[in-house]
């Protein structure tokens, strides 16, 4: 499966460099964030791959200056019973990435959650609201600088 995947992708996207990481028996592909929609569309549509199920979209905050966030996609091919992890780096100064919710609808809420927790804006998302926190909340709690105990007064109390 790994050979097939890398072969198909390099044939389809000769201009993109894929970093292939293999650990714990899982395959991860890392590439530039500008290509995410093209690659995902191809992975879903290609007959021999058929990654039809998007399990999760999430992010990691590395708490470093350059490429602070990594957006992680877990996709699964029900036909081949194969799980693939896609990764794109997102810089804090340009904290945006294209939404994949037009490809898999299940990415809709997952991206909303990532936006809520990390403040990463998913471009062309149909309904980018906060998932868990109230809309008036100013912070993104899963960023590493947000304290564990929270910020006093950050959540307004309900009106009497």
């Amino acid at each position: 499966m790994k050979e097939l995947l890398t072969e198909k992708l390099t044939k389809q996207f000769p201009e993109i460099t894929f970093e292939v990481i293999e650990q714990f028996g899982e395959l991860t592909l890392k590439f530039d964030k500008s290509e995410i929609v093209h690659v995902c569309t191809f992975l879903k549509a290609e007959e021999s791959l058929k990654f039809n199920f998007c399990e999760d979209v999430t992010a990691i905050d590395w708490a470093v200056r350059k490429n602070r966030f990594t957006v992680v996609y877990h996709i699964f091919s029900m036909e081949n019973k194969f799980r693939l992890c896609l990764k794109v780096d997102v810089d804090e100064s340009e904290c945006t990435v294209e939404s994949v919710s037009s490809i898999w609808k299940s990415a809709n809420w997952a991206e909303r959650e990532a936006y809520d927790m990390f403040g990463i804006t998913f471009l062309h998302h149909p309904d980018l609201r906060r998932m868990y926190m109230p809309e008036e909340f100013d912070y993104h709690p899963l960023r590493k600088e947000y304290p564990l105990m929270g910020i006093p007064g950050a959540i307004p109390l309900p009106k009497k």
């Binding site: 999430t58 877990h74 799980r83 299940s106 959650e113 947000y146």
Partner: protein
Amino acid sequence: MQKLTKDDVHPKIVQALLGADVHITVDDALENEMILNMGPQHPATHGVLRLLLRLDGETVVACVPELGYLHRGYEKMAENMTYLEFVPHTDRLDYISPPANNVAYALAVEKLAGITAPPRAQYIRMLLAELARMCSHLVAIGALAMDVGALTVFLWGLREREKILDFFDAICGARFTTSYTRIGGVASDVTSDALKNIIAFINQFEEKFDEMERLLNGNRIFIERLEGVGVIGKDDAIDLGFTGPNLRGSGVEFDLRRATPYLFYNEMDFNIPVYTEGDCLARYFVRSDELRESAKIVRQVIDKIPNGEVMLNSPKKALPRKTEIYTKMEELIHDFMIVNHGINPPVGEVYHAVENPKGELGFYLVSKGEGQPWRMKIRSPSFANLQAIPLMVKGHMISDVVAIVGSIDPIMGEADK
């Protein structure tokens, strides 16, 4: 349920509810259009789910689910505690089936740390996961029946569930918050008495469940309330991230126990019930069939369970035995290091998903080689399943919304994390 004014609803929610192409405002809505707030405190929403419904008469035109009323920030908390310390918190995710969550979490950490639990421990985990599945489906069927007006099934289901909870009590020492798994095994061994009692329970269970089913399958009100309601097709179900019984109710034969076998599920003989209708009734049938399959697996597990250790002997990764901690210096040191500094798995990332009663529960762990995870992401099945509600309730009555939510069987503890 109360009628809302414009000030009660956040403008962004109103916008989502109304859609960009419709021009009505909440204050002077059309005579028969209104916006209704259902939940978060509503007995039929199974916890603190809030649904905002836009109604035309009694028909639902649009629906926006609001989550976060039970958000406790477990992912943030996990970054600040060792891998072992997080086990009790997994009980509080899907609180109807805590042992299944324990097992899912332990498997993910073990994959990251590169260890495997001894066979007996894995069989015990399988036993508990299946008992938890039975627990969960009994509650799911009971609550669905109660939502559409058949209270007896709920009480009968809870009576059977109570017996399973007694086994959890005997095996784990707690009925509800089991916290049973450890990294590299389980907390304590199962006695042969407990196994005998479980077999006795399974033997009488099928008959009891037949009785329960007779109450529902011959009940015209129950069938008519569910048949053809909340239909979701095969492609939509996959696209929206459905997993578990909900997905199998839509005609997709997908079960992680078969697709990516873990524990010893590939040695077990069980069927994956699939119904193609995709309505609430199909989801109910999948659950009731799965109950029988789980009972079958429990029987096989007890037949095949090997003797041996229930905890891995790996001083740096797994907790040593209590008797040795009290008598030997080395073990005392290892115990101290594991409890205080954690097991320090190698640098790397791992995603491990298992088939929980509600669907695919996955843990994504990012390790920097420290005692605490750098990042933990919980892929909870209820969260993904709830996403389909707006599509499913469109065009149905308010009373059908109750049946649809009940048939999806969301648990807000894991949807809100």
